[in-house]
């Protein structure tokens, strides 16, 4: 069967500042509506979840990914995609970068092996996260680096040197010290992965706004509950 022809996506790009400022206004409004930081975080996560469930289809439709059956095929596709989606052009007016209009964070590339064999799991998950890098680039214009956190290989981190969403935030407001400003991203990752049958837990491990040196998003893959096999009727 012939390989699908890779094509350039035809969708609008908008000014990055518009996106970043809109997000800031959204978080500011949520802070006005809810007093507790946990509530704001929770609602950001919920909104992100809704975005993620829809964004994943957009990502899959445009990135020509197909079911992969081997490690080398996957890395080949990821490399190809990096060529196809070069860094966004800079806007001639402000000199800043343009980002893609469809909601503004990631939609992980999914489904490498259908959680079939456990011994492949670590490789699978690593590839999954490599593809998240592609998605980050596609939608936000930055590429995070991927690291693996524990030996059982089901915890990973995406490390962002510069987080485009918090570009204009100098510091968190007083009394909002436990606010996760970019919690929307966590929700998006969780929603997108859930649409392809992978249960994950996503949270911020380090946040530049809280004084750490980089922004780190931690992803923990939860074990899928075993599907019940059909029982024969006696």
């Amino acid at each position: 069967m012939s390989r699908p022809v890779p094509r350039r996506p035809e969708y609008h790009k908008i000014n990055r500042d518009l996106l970043v400022l809109t997000y800031g206004a959204l978080v500011a409004q949520l802070c006005k509506d809810y007093e507790k930081d946990e509530d704001v975080n929770k609602y950001l996560d919920k909104m992100g979840y809704g975005i993620g469930t829809r964004l994943v289809e957009d990502f899959l439709a445009r990135s020509c990914v197909r079911r992969c059956h081997s490690y080398s095929e996957i890395t080949h596709i990821i490399a190809e995609m990096n060529v196809l989606f070069p860094l966004p052009p800079t806007c001639p007016v402000t000199g800043r970068d343009c980002v893609d209009a469809p909601a503004f964070a990631t939609a992980p590339f999914i489904h490498i092996f259908q959680a079939s064999s456990h011994k492949n799991q670590p490789q699978v998950l690593l590839i999954l996260l490599q593809s998240q890098q592609v998605a980050f680039k596609m939608y936000l214009g930055v590429t995070p680096s991927v690291t693996c956190n524990n030996s059982s290989k089901n915890e990973f981190s995406l490390i962002l040197d510069k987080n485009p969403l918090s570009e204009f935030v100098e510091e968190l407001p007083a009394g909002r010290s436990s606010l996760c400003y970019c919690n929307l991203l966590c929700g998006i990752i969780r929603g997108a992965l859930e649409m392809v049958h992978l249960a994950v837990d996503v949270m911020f491990l380090q946040d530049r706004l809280k004084g750490d040196s980089v922004t780190e998003i931690g992803i923990t893959f939860l074990k899928q509950p075993e599907k019940k096999k059909y029982r024969r009727r006696k």
Partner: protein, 219 residues
Amino acid sequence: MAIFSVYVVNKAGGLIYQHDSYAPRAEAEKTFSYPLDLLLKLHDERVLVAFGQRDGIRVGHAVLAINGTDVNGKYTADGKEVLEYLGNPANYPVSIRFGRPRLTSNEKLMLASMFHSLFAIGSQLSPEQGSSGIEMLETDTFKLHCFQTLTGIKFVVLADPRQAGIDSLLRKIYEIYSDFALKNPFYSLEMPIRCELFDQNLKLALEVAEKAGTFGPGS
């Protein structure tokens, strides 16, 4: 029209979108005098020809119109029962139009869920792990192409067997779905798609595919 219909099936097997663009089928309209030499039977809320095939009117064809006015199931437009009307010699001579009955939306729903189940069985029967499921179903009068996304939505296109380029059409329909159905804030996932922009863009994509694709005799 080389592309007959498009179906979109959600994860649970329910039909969420359906679009038909049939060419007009063979229909026969004839004037009859009493007594009618065809045997008509009521079946499934429709009046069908059971016996007496002739002149383009075949067994299984339904009564589509009487004297020019469309028939509604087993009742005429005025509310009278078709069989009763045709049994009365005072109504003759009468002009009746017969043709292949169209699928009702309930039937389409049923067929979509059945296809969903067959698809699931097909993937399980595969001797290799990770099968893609049914991709094409071929008959002499049409080809059914199916594309299942990684998230479980199926796009099904029924087209002429000679029509080419359906694979790229399926991918295009997926893009249109992600653009106009999913980004519509009033659309809930897994529900029937009622978005005008989706309809418009889908029709446009079908037209483009038809113009680009057919490589058959005489085209």
